[in-house]
Point group: C3
Chain length 470, copies 3
């Protein structure tokens, strides 16, 4: 016997009828605003080629580390889930079989945002009206598989149906950006922009760093052997990215450390990191480049994002067999006050800089980030990130950041995802949770209702456009 | 004038009628499930000898550091509370007098879990119907004292009345386990098992460590002078504990640090810690043994528990006069991501290992523990521990751990207590708070109600039995 | 079209009608209790001279770093807000112009406690009945300006209208306390006491430290070249402060570190810090003096307060141009367990010591502070401090500190402010939020309602008087 799947119109709203009514009224006016997605990891080739997605598992399970890491945590081998191996040794290619394993273990996602996003995709996009479980696995598979073969489920059609005003992808400076070029030249009206993510040429501990830097400088026509050439190559590629629509840069560093070395020190450090840097030298180089990037942002107006403090690829066994980004990235404690000081001493009061800070260490919301953003003109707080891109994560962010940082030092929502299908679901969760927070302020007579409507709109639409200059 | 004591049937449920009704309905189906207590500190001699408990103060105040530390924090000397001194210098033996001090200060426990547990014991076990205060101190004393003299209040009778399916105690490898043997041979049907807590032979900073290790090896018939002999002694005693019903080991370490030394390094380190180790050597040895214990768990199937990051016996004056475990243990910041890596690199992907992690640093729930447990097949999250074994502590645990770790990487409830009388009260608080959390998810349309019933049962009963192999 | 400004009588109370009714009933009995303000930064010259406040901007904006830092964070130069420069270079003196900028940006304070405090001042003190916005800026300015010219708005009249039983200011030992003397000799009945804040002569990294110490010893008639003389000077000035009503000392340190050096070590360290101390020596000296201060508190009964872990004047550009206390103080992570041990080993069990701990790192509420205060007789927890002096900050404090520390190891509320006008609003927020917390406990059957009334009164009035010996 199947069980009905229905998205409740009041989902995520508190049970209290007073608060719920206010939340509903706030949400009513923001729910249909266009989606502005300033930071994410969708693949621009989808929109360039507009090819249909191949099959349910390849679309919804194999590439989604939120999904397969949870299954793996309960003992299901990644091979059975079709996750490709580094050496090409076989893993499942049986899309329907993978789907069945997923259906058998769908209970593992109870209480997680993945469940909420997936149910939205099933109900709203594929019009399924029963809950996923072993009994309905085939129905699901067949329904989704059939839909994906139709034009209405090609990337561009979904983009339009999803009411996306603009979406940013993220590329390495080594990327030729040919998909973005193809999109622009195709005549399609969808706005897909890139973002400058220079980690492969900034992090001396990145794989093939020196070779990356060489190629990075060569394509820019600059001299890789000098720090001046290296910096000029950044300027070249930043300009190239801006031509492809980029308004922002993004930096994923192991820590928030910044530095402000003298030109000579920086040049000497550059020479060392190209060779065989110590961990400390690598850290200092990353720190120095953050400050250089801030300086270039002051020049060229690109908004800077900092995503620090993740221990990437913590699981060596999984890394060796399956490669990077397999659900084994684990947050570590963050520190911003001392770490950012060199950069802030140099550029923190410059109105031309916007530096958006993210964290996975929630304790710093109230301790460090809100006080910093509530003072420095250059700083803004990014939305709850990654593991906190969830109802409770969003609630804690507003509870802990608002009183000191205010609403207007935040920048709306980022979906930060490669799971294209669920993008509207993610924005919807953010809009709902922001309305819940505002409704609570209104119900407790902490904010007049008319002002709450203004804020709801700002959080859903205005702030992100302004902060990211989109 | 006395005031009535009555346990409200809806206690701990939110005031909101919608959420309360759902919580009540979830709780209704789990409240009478048997108690599975996989980790605690009850004294097996109680169940072996089945002697009556002596008097109210000796049962409920003198041994309960939650109770006497709060009184001490407000200036009441421990001597007046009957806490025994190390050197045998006199402390109060006036049970009724101690009880009166307790009654006069019962207001200090307002808002604490101790108040809730104690009121449950008073109302439910001793059928008292007025609140404890100076005016009712004698009534309380007389009622409890009289009850304790009856057979219905002997340990085994309470065990049965409490519907305990199985309870684990915790013993050192130096313990002969004769009480467990006596229980098994007595023909009594109650299931009391031990757990292997090797800290006295693992922590080089423990009192009499070298002597402990000698005795540990001797009783195992192994050579204490070699690391191989030491490890073999662990295997011997682990097997001995398994015969006494143990399914788990427990490790209380100052940090979560693990190490994976080469056999030669480990052997050399062992030699040093038997002599006069530095603090760093002691820490490294504890770290190495955690990994050895994980390896043995892979072999013998014992579930491993890690309780890290407490500064034990922080108060030197109290330690010198009254000894260990006198309410002066204070948590410190925890770190798991780097600390566990050596162990996880070696055994983290092995499906035969279950490592249950506890913390007193709530910030790591969302930052480190949920991401780790939501990825590694070997890891599970223990319930909120010690200071967090409380309504708000439990609420924060579910709020912060569920979205990333899910429900199924948690392992139900531990009472972790020596306060035998209140064990059902503690499990009841956990069941209520889990139902409250689930009810909120249901009321906010984040989880269908039928699935919430499944989860409530899993949290109250199924998960703990599975995780601990009980 | 203007919008009405009205303070809702149920503001801050939860929407749930059951909880709200209980909160209202608890609040009803505490709302009119006199204000006891044991720690703050009002200027004693106000009460000594009783001169009228000059104008709206100088009273409410220019000196309030909560207000101008938020405006600055959104790009408004401090010069335009009339914040004086260090070198006397010009900033706006146009009070009405500053007020207009404030009105234009009043939306930035949505969701912040400043909004709540300011609205209370506008509505309750100045009887304004429309919301501040550009259209009402002149009305506001004229109303406030006119009121300030009347006797009813002079400092002493406000003090009396505010029902302040006693207020403490904070002075350096270098302060002659002549304003306090003038107040006492004036015959006015208002009780204004000082508090001993010796940071300028304790922190070797403070500006002009050596000169401060010289003057500190000279005014005490002690020998600045010897540590004994320095300590004697503390005793002298502490006694002088007690004569001016002080019952407490206050210590704002970069960390909680304490030390317990031998007299010789301490004397040698003193000699070094007077010269050119290293950072480590400065830190150790501050640590040692905390323990010395605890010892003096044992002697003279002064209550000791520790406000640690703020990176002061983080923004170098703002510091250089506008000086200290300009909204650029940023919290850092706190640690108390190891840091306080030397002091606690020496004096922690002495019933004559009261040491009140504050933190800006909320994570330590449950991890360190509540366990410490729930054990040591000398320790108490200060209320949520600074950035946490807010509805959500107060909620988190009670949620995280109560279960382990109880209510009676806390000390009521501190407004800690120089914003005299809003003092009642701040105490009112604290009383309301404490009543909300208690109402929730009552509604969830965790505390009988009659006991909640007792606790509400203790939190609003009794505990602060007892803890601070006022």
């Amino acid at each position: 016997m199947t069980r009905p799947l229905a998205l409740h119109p009041d989902r995520l709203f508190p049970a209290d009828p007073t608060v719920r009514a206010i939340a509903r009224s706030l949400y009513e006016r923001v729910k249909d605003l266009p989606i502005v997605s300033p930071h994410g990891h969708t693949d621009p080739s989808w929109f360039a080629g507009n090819e249909p997605f191949s099959d349910p598992a390849s679309l919804l399970i194999v590439p989604d580390h939120y999904v397969f890491r949870m299954l793996y945590s309960q003992g299901i081998p990644l091979e059975k889930l079709g996750v490709p191996t580094v050496d090409g040794s076989p893993t499942s290619t049986d899309s329907r079989g993978i789907w069945k394993i997923f259906a058998e273990n769908y209970h593992l996602f109870r209480g997680t945002p993945s469940r909420m996003w997936l149910d939205w995709v099933f109900a709203e996009v594929f019009k399924l009206d029963v809950i996923l479980e072993p009994e309905t696995a085939d129905l699901y598979y067949d329904t989704i598989d059939a839909a994906l073969k139709t034009d209405a489920f090609r990337p561009r059609a979904l983009f339009e149906r999803y009411n996306i005003e603009v979406i940013a992808t993220t590329e390495s400076p080594l990327d030729p950006l040919e998909h973005h070029k193809a999109i622009r030249e195709s005549g399609w009206s969808g706005r897909v922009v890139t973002a400058y993510r220079p980690d492969p040429v900034v992090d001396p501990e990145a794989r093939a760093f020196a070779a990356n830097v060489r190629r990075f400088c060569e394509t820019a026509g600059e001299d890789a052997s000098s720090y001046a050439g290296y910096l000029a190559a950044h300027r070249f590629h930043r300009a190239r990215f801006r031509e492809a629509g980029a308004t922002s840069t993004d930096h994923g560093h192991p820590s928030s450390l910044t530095a402000d070395l003298s030109p000579d020190e920086a040049a000497a450090l550059y020479a060392r990191v190209l060779d065989a840097p110590t961990a400390a030298e690598a850290e200092l180089f990353r720190a120095q480049i953050l400050t250089e990037m801030a300086g270039m942002s002051v020049e060229d107006g690109m908004v800077m994002q900092l995503h620090p403090a993740v221990h990437r690829n913590h699981n060596e066994v999984v890394l060796a067999r399956f490669g990077r980004d397999k659900g084994g990235d684990i947050p570590t404690a963050g520190e911003f006050v001392r770490a950012l000081k060199p950069l802030l001493d140099r550029y923190g009061n410059d109105p031309r800089l916007t530096l958006i800070l993210f964290t996975l260490d929630e304790d710093v919301y109230s301790r460090e980030l809100a006080p910093l953003a509530g003072h420095y003109p250059s700083l803004r707080l990014g939305p709850p990130w990654w593991f906190h891109d969830s109802p409770e994560g969003m609630r804690r962010f507003r509870e802990r950041a608002t009183e000191t940082g205010g609403f207007y030092n935040t920048v709306g929502f980022n979906d930060d995802t490669r799971a294209f299908l669920s993008i509207p679901a993610r924005h919807d969760v953010a809009r709902r949770m922001d309305c819940v927070w505002l409704a609570q302020l209104v119900a407790e007579h902490r904010l007049p209702e008319d002002e709450a409507h203004d804020v709801a709109r700002a959080l859903a639409y205005d702030l992100v456009k302004a902060a990211y200059k989109l």
